[in-house]
């Protein structure tokens, strides 16, 4: 009986814990703030080809992001033909809607997109916990009821991954591939709770 209880308790405890921190060792904080360098340079036009897979439907477009002031980002998505799909402004806390086509102008869709862009664009966040593995240093931050885990590769010091979670479950994972640690050439965003996957590939410099 005691053995059964112990096994049950083990399963309950492990099913409540995050996979993200499994195998990681807790460390001292080391940093007060963690930063995401990939959209913080005001002199760069960040232009990406976007491929979106949502509930087995494929959509495409161009995602354009620009840091327009120390606090503000402008986010525009267009079709390949150039027609605007959405045009939002993010001030670090909230979004202003400049334009959204009728088909996307639904509360659920916009909330998913806004949460997604917020995760991508927040460039500084206060660290509440820190972990490490042999490969990564991991910094945990809190955003309301959600947590973000920033994975920095020890050898290159590049931000490789952000995992967004609730207390018990992974919600979104963003993977960055970057050769210089300042510009992400490739970004992959995968949702766990909805069938949504976004792949972003940066336009090559010589094309612009």
């Amino acid at each position: 009986m005691i053995r059964f209880l112990a096994i049950s308790l083990f399963f309950i405890l492990t099913s409540c814990s995050l996979q993200t921190t499994e195998g990681l060792r807790q460390t001292e904080l080391l940093l007060d703030e963690i930063s995401n360098p990939y959209f913080e340079n005001q002199s760069i036009d960040y232009v990406y080809k976007a491929k979106i897979e949502v509930y087995n439907n494929n959509l495409g477009g161009i995602l354009i992001i620009k840091k327009t002031s120390p606090k503000n980002h402008r986010i525009v998505m267009t079709t390949e033909f150039g027609g605007k799909l959405l045009d939002l402004e993010f001030d670090g806390n909230s979004f202003t809607k400049n334009f959204v086509i009728e088909e996307l102008d639904r509360k659920f869709i916009l909330n998913v997109l806004k949460a997604n862009f917020e995760l991508l664009l927040i460039d500084k966040a206060v660290v509440v916990d820190a972990y490490e593995s042999d490969i990564h240093r991991v910094f945990k931050t809190q955003n309301d009821k959600r947590f973000n885990f920033y994975f920095i590769k020890k050898s290159s010091k590049k931000l490789e991954k952000i995992v967004n979670t609730s207390k018990t479950k992974e919600k979104v994972e963003i993977n960055f591939s970057s050769s210089d640690g300042e510009i992400a050439e490739g970004i992959s965003i995968v949702y766990s709770n909805i069938k949504l996957k976004i792949d972003l590939e940066k336009f090559k410099e010589d094309a612009n």
Binding site: D45, N58, I62, I64, T78, E80, F81, F203
Partner: protein, 186 residues
């Protein structure tokens, strides 16, 4: 343009358009957004075959092609293929019709637009203003620039209500070469 210049110009465009059975052309597209340092540039090839088959193929900086076929768009996004049914969306249909017809230049009979004509030493320009309020939410005006000599469209500009615009410039245009129907699959 004077009324007689306008009717002469329209006649020329319509007769050119009628004798044009196929078009092959390179194009460069610029997306201008006022907050960007540089316009977003993409480029590729366009193929048209009368009466209404069109393929737009972006090759730089990514591979993406669209075939307009009846009420469907056949899309190949870097190997990922999909179909979009546009039969139900009047607005989308209209926007696609604009893209198809702007290749030929023959949009003067379109009752959804108010058309005005301008001339310069180098080109003639037709400006289309949407009458439909729904279309006007997306497009403030649509401009076609025509060569003076052969009345072919060499530039398309779609201006949004925000003043941001998309500009497509055609080059290396080849008229009436043989184009197989199999080109218009995706």
């Amino acid at each position: 343009m004077t009324p007689s210049e306008i009717s002469l110009f329209k006649e020329k465009v319509i007769s050119e358009s009628k004798s044009t059975k196929t078009i092959k052309s390179d194009f460069v597209q610029y997306k201008h957004l006022d907050f960007l340092a540089n316009d977003v540039k993409t480029s590729g090839k366009m193929v048209f075959k009368a009466p209404n088959q069109v393929k737009w193929e972006y090759t730089n900086p990514y591979k993406y092609s669209v075939v307009f076929k009846e009420d469907q768009l056949l899309i190949n996004d870097g190997g990922t293929k999909s179909k979009v049914d546009i039969g139900n969306s009047k607005l989308f249909k209209k926007l696609n019709e604009l893209i198809v017809n702007s290749v030929k230049g023959n949009m003067f009979s379109d009752s959804d637009f108010e058309v005005s004509f301008l001339k310069s030493p180098k080109y003639n320009k037709a400006v289309f203003l949407p009458k439909d309020k729904k279309i006007a939410e997306y497009i403030a005006s649509f401009e076609l620039l025509f060569n003076k000599n052969d009345a072919q469209v060499f530039e398309v500009k779609m201006i949004e209500p925000s003043k941001d615009f998309t500009q497509i410039i055609f080059s290396k245009r080849v008229l009436n070469s043989a184009i197989d129907d199999s080109v218009f699959s995706n």
